[in-house]
């Protein structure tokens, strides 16, 4: 059943790609056709994804591989392939579903934009590339789609191209992720060199299969870390996270789709995909490369959560929250909870898309205002947005029971607690949970509660085309938890291939109470801290953040993103720019100067030669000439003009020759 989908996996990314190409060739005015094409492409992709999802349910550990030759160079062939396993299938469905919601939302959100058609072309292009990424069975093919989603991200961040800040953010995103990609590229080359193939699974010969892994030896750690560089760049992990908050310059649906739900999670997906590389020679599930992953993840999770507390832009807060959540997933992968990490990825995809779309709805309702201090009291004005946003907020904060994020976060904490190497990540993550609840509460209070401020005066609820996706995503967020609970961890079993049974008693675990307590603590602290946010409180002016009032130093540190961007500006970027100027200078003056110096030496030599000529040789020539003239004058006497004299001379000459000949003979 459904076998044709397995042989035609390429159709899944091809549908949105084709839609994108057709839309690009349409004229600007054909908005309706563009939307129709984009949505048809996405629906097709979703349908195919679900069709592809079906067979993976039938057998545990299902894996369908379809390899093909890309090209032959010399006597060797480069092969690529597509792969369908539970990881890919789950990702496919999530991406296509979230994508579809965001497409629909965009119809309303972008309704007034003059480059409407181009937007949908880019969006479809991204969707295709992302779908291709998850079903790639070759690190090279994955890299190709990886770069293409990067391109789509670049184009979409800079979509409002007349805004200089958007263009700068796009450039920053492109370059920052490319730094990581270069590591990925090198890791890929190294892997190719060691294992001789880039196919993940190739009936026993793939690089992720035991035979291939055995060939790696000690270099596995380095390969894994280099590939992880790519993940760091793409998933906004410290120290390459700086691009992600700036990427919020793009339209909000883009932030939702690319910079929250799907593309940024590709780094996590990549690590999960090549997990066998990370766990080569693992002792107790710990390897040097995984340890690095854990600590990068922990650093990112905490740092981003802290920064999020002091941001004013509704989208930036969510962006830092995304960075933080991605850090959390990395930790999960690092400590060995691959399934937990992916589950969180999927859940995060839904609720973060929901949050971003909610934020988009808020921004739309507030006529483009993004500063949370200027909002307030939107609860009554935008009820649907408020309700759905609240669901997303609870899921993100990690409230269990009926919110998917809670279950997956709990599972991650569980896995982290069991990490044999250190308990520190576990406790740091617990702190992160509190912080997450705190900054989300702050945001909720600022945006939806309290009195209305400047931006919310003319606010209105968004049209149905925008609220519908919110509702769908909210429902997904809630109902997704059905397959996540510890009583029936179906998704866990699906991903790991372990058998699963229902056991209600497992629902209640110590970890549940720990996380519930922490989340409550976070929410309570948040409510207490920000209860008077946005209004005059004693001698604190209304527009000053309570934390800023209480701890101006700390707040400034966090509000300025821990000075990391500035640090980069003054070190890495300044240094590179200096290197560039130096190279140019060297070229213009040193190397060219060297050449000119040689030229000058030649010229000097020329001058020297000329003077020798003038004084020495020329003088000699003059003398000779004078002598010759004298001689000539002498000789001209013999030229009598008398023909007979000449002839006589000839005769004498002949005579002389004759005599000479005779004498010689």
């Amino acid at each position: 059943m459904n076998s044709w989908v397995l042989t035609c996996l390429w159709l899944i990314p091809a549908a949105p790609f084709a839609a994108s190409l057709i839309i690009l060739s349409l004229s600007k005015a054909r908005r309706k056709s563009a939307v129709a094409l984009a949505i048809i492409g996405e629906v097709l992709a979703l349908a195919l994804s679900i069709l592809a999802f079906m067979p993976t349910l039938q057998a545990t550990g299902f894996r369908a591989v379809q390899n093909f030759n890309w090209f032959t160079f010399g006597e060797h062939t480069l092969r690529l392939g597509f792969l369908l396993d539970p990881l890919a299938a789950a990702m496919l469905v999530m991406i296509a579903l979230v994508g579809l919601c965001i497409f629909v939302f965009s119809v309303g959100y972008m309704a007034d934009d003059k480059n409407f058609t181009r937007f949908f072309a880019y969006l479809s292009f991204f969707s295709g590339a992302m779908l291709g990424l998850v079903i790639a069975n070759s690190l090279l093919l994955l890299f190709i789609f990886w770069e293409l989603v990067g391109l789509a991200s670049y184009l979409l961040i800079g979509f409002w191209i007349e805004k200089p800040s958007a263009a700068a953010a796009a450039k920053k995103a492109f370059i920052t992720t490319r730094i990581g990609d270069m590591g990925f590229f090198l890791g890929m080359l190294w892997l190719y060199d060691c294992s001789g193939t880039l196919l993940f699974y190739d009936s026993g010969n793939g690089c992720l299969e035991s035979a291939g892994l055995a060939m790696l030896g000690a270099s596995a750690t380095f390969i894994a870390l280099l590939i992880f560089c790519g993940a760091v760049g793409k998933s906004g992990q410290f120290p390459l996270h700086v691009w992600l908050p700036d990427a919020m310059e793009g339209p909000t649906p883009v932030s939702a789709l690319i910079h929250a739900a799907t593309m940024v999670a590709a780094g996590v997906f990549l690590v999960a995909r090549v997990y066998p590389l990370f766990s080569v020679d693992a002792i107790n599930g710990v390897t040097p490369s995984l340890t690095v992953v854990v600590w990068i993840g922990v650093t990112t999770a905490l740092m981003a959560a802290l920064i999020a507390i002091a941001q004013e832009d509704i989208k930036r807060i969510l962006a830092y929250s995304t960075v933080s959540q991605l850090g959390l997933m990395m930790v999960s992968l690092g400590v060995g909870g691959v399934a937990a990490g992916i589950m969180h990825l999927l859940a995060h995809g839904f609720f973060k898309a929901l949050l971003f779309l909610g934020a988009g709805s808020v921004i739309h309702g507030c006529h483009g205002e993004q500063d949370i201090r200027k909002m307030g009291g939107l609860r009554r004005l935008m009820p649907v947005t408020f309700m759905t946003y609240a669901i997303g907020m609870l899921a993100l904060s990690g409230v269990p029971f009926s919110f998917s994020g809670g279950w997956t976060k709990e599972e991650i904490l569980h896995a982290t607690a069991q990490w044999p190497k250190s308990q520190a990540p576990y406790y740091l993550l617990l702190a992160g949970v509190v912080l997450t609840a705190l900054y989300m509460t702050r945001q909720m209070i600022y945006v939806f509660f309290g009195n209305g401020r400047s931006a919310s005066e003319r606010a209105h609820e968004s049209p149905r085309v925008m609220t519908m996706p919110l509702i769908v995503l909210a429902l997904c967020t809630i109902f997704f938890s059905v397959v996540l609970t510890s009583a029936w961890p179906w998704l866990h079993g699906y991903l790991t291939g372990e058998p699963v049974h229902i056991e209600i008693t497992r629902l209640v675990q110590p970890m549940l109470f720990v996380s519930l307590a922490l989340v409550s603590a976070g929410v309570v602290i948040g409510v207490w801290m920000y209860r008077k946010a946005g209004v005059q409180d004693r001698d604190r002016p209304a527009e000053i953040d309570p934390l800023e009032y209480a701890q101006p130093g700390v707040f400034e540190f966090l509000a300025n993103k821990m000075w990391i961007d500035d640090l980069y500006d003054h070190t890495v970027i300044a240094f590179s720019w200096m290197a560039a100027r130096l190279s140019d200078w060297m070229d213009r003056y040193f190397w060219d100067g060297l050449v000119r110096g040689f030229g000058g030496v030649g010229q000097l030599f020329g001058i020297l030669t000329a003077s020798v000529d003038e004084r020495g040789i020329n003088a000699g020539v003059d003398e000779t000439t004078a002598g010759a003239r004298g001689l000539g004058r002498l000789m001209s006497g013999a030229h009598s003009g008398q023909i007979q004299t000449y002839l006589g001379a000839v005769a004498i000459g002949m005579l002389a020759l004759l005599l000479l000949y005779a004498w010689l003979a």
């Binding site: 160079f73 191209i161 958007a166 263009a167 492109f174 590229f185 560039a580 070229d587």
Partner: protein, 494 residues
């Protein structure tokens, strides 16, 4: 019976005469017509080329000056065919790129002479003949820069000429040395001798140095590259296209055909140093490109960088201690060939775009423009494709060559290749900066009357861009041309 290769060499020469003989005007149609003929010849070569056969094909051999071992010996293998096709592809577009107003019949005639010389260079298999064509391409290039160039053209042309000419002299002397020692100018024969050390002692090093310098100037390799930005900057658009698209390939071609087969031992000994030089060519020029204001100069520097990758792969192959030719040698060589072709297509297109911008605005400083995306979306879109191709985005042609080069070089010289990745990164920075300042931001007053692409311009851009996509997605048709040659050469270099 005139062979196809002879035909393709002489058709442009006849064309040059025809352009000169034609009364007033009409230089371009005639030149294009002859380009169509030569393109047909090139396609016939491609069609009749046996991709599975080793060795030279379509060989034509006539005695020329037997006393000095000079022969008229032409023939093609996969590499030569690839370059002949590239020449046939780039030159017509370069002719189309020249604005009609500023060109004369002499311009087209000179271009055609250069085309003939290029065909000759890529097909000659005897040093004397090869050198003749090699030099023959130099003079038209000099004239084209000197007469039809932009500002500073005198200086740039002289610099170009002196540099390349001195390089050629060094190479000629080296070859004379080889000839007196070995008595042959035949490439194949010399390559056969090279395997066991062509020359010994000091003479070998002198000859190596001479040929190396001659070719390094042409490629150009750091630090012999300073003529290039000036020359490309001053040359008119069409000439820049040919210079970067085809002429710069002569150096790489020379390395593959001459230096590597003739001096394997010398390269092995100097290996790390040569690799370091290649790395310098990869890392510093894009950094310098970053600091440029002039778009043409910027692309010129990136051109050095792209050919630096080729050099990296070639030196890695020649310097590696690996004995047998394996997948890495094949990958590196295929990558070099791909890169040669791709860089020709991409860089020529980029120069074309810069020419279009210059034509519209009169200047070409990177900050003279802004917000073009609002005014000319088509131009920006297609130009971005060329830029992404140049920075090696997968799905476009640049990636294939660079991936294979890096794949091969990494296995043969890992540390150097790892450093070379910086070049990829900086290239991305340069293009990202260019795109930001050209396409985005508010539209300045001076650019508000910009026309978007017109049909004549699309005639050049669309085929080139489609080719980029074709190579990027399904490159097999190009690989078919030179796979056998790669295998054969890999065996030779091993």
């Amino acid at each position: 019976m005139v062979g196809l290769i002879t035909a393709i060499i002489f058709v442009p020469l006849v064309g040059a005469l025809a352009v000169c003989a034609w009364p007033q005007g009409g230089g371009r149609p005639i030149a294009l017509m002859f380009n169509v003929i030569s393109a047909v010849c090139a396609l016939a070569l491609w069609r009749n080329f046996d991709a599975t056969a080793a060795g030279l094909q379509f060989v034509e051999r006539h005695p020329w000056i037997p006393a000095v071992g000079a022969e008229y010996l032409v023939g093609i293998d996969g590499l030569s065919l690839l370059l002949v096709l590239l020449t046939s592809l780039i030159i017509p577009f370069a002719l189309l790129a020249q604005p009609v107003a500023g060109s004369s019949r002499a311009f087209y005639a000179t271009m055609l002479v250069m085309q003939s010389a290029l065909y000759g260079t890529f097909t000659a298999q005897n040093f004397v003949l090869w050198f003749l064509f090699y030099e023959m391409s130099l003079i038209p290039a000099f004239l084209l820069i000197k007469i039809w160039g932009g500002e500073n053209r005198d200086r740039a042309a002289t610099k170009f000429f002196l540099y390349t000419f001195l390089g050629s002299v060094a190479m000629l002397l080296s070859f004379l040395g080889i000839y007196f020692a070995k008595g042959t100018f035949d490439f194949a024969a010399l390559a056969g001798l090279g395997k066991n050390g062509l020359l010994t002692g000091k003479l070998a090093w002198l000859a190596f140095a001479g040929i190396f310098v001659g070719l390094a100037v042409k490629v150009p390799l750091f630090p012999f590259h300073t003529w290039l930005p000036d020359a490309y900057q001053s040359a008119p658009t069409g000439v820049s296209m040919v210079l970067t698209g085809v002429l710069s390939k002569m150096g790489v071609y020379g390395f593959v055909r001459l230096l590597l087969p003739l001096f394997p031992n010398q390269i092995k000994i100097l290996g790390p140093w040569l690799l370091a030089v290649a790395i310098c060519s990869i890392v510093f020029p894009p950094l310098a490109a970053w600091a440029q204001r002039d778009l043409k100069r910027m692309i010129a520097y990136l051109s050095i960088n792209h050919l630096g990758y080729c050099m990296l792969a070639l030196f890695a192959i020649a310097a590696s201690p690996v004995v047998a030719a394996g997948i890495d040698t094949h990958a590196a060589l295929s990558g070099v060939f791909m890169q040669i072709f791709n860089h020709g297509v991409t860089a020529a297109t980029l120069f074309y775009f810069v020419g279009l911008l210059e034509q519209r605005r009169g200047v070409r400083g990177i900050d003279d423009f802004g917000g073009l995306m609002q005014r000319t979306p088509l131009l920006c879109g297609w130009m971005s494709v060329a830029m992404f191709s140049s920075l090696g985005l997968p799905g476009l042609n640049g990636f294939i060559g660079e991936f294979l080069i890096f794949k091969g070089s990494f296995a043969l010289a890992a540390a150097f290749t790892a450093i070379a990745v910086i070049g990829l990164l900086v290239t991305a920075i340069v293009f990202a900066r260019a795109m930001q300042s050209l396409f985005s931001g508010p539209l300045p007053e001076s650019c508000s009357a910009f026309p978007d692409l017109v049909r004549r311009e699309k005639l050049v851009i669309v085929p080139m861009t489609l080719l980029m996509f074709a190579i990027g997605i399904a490159p097999q048709f190009l690989f078919n041309i030179f796979n056998t040659t790669v295998t054969q050469m890999a065996r030779l270099f091993a």
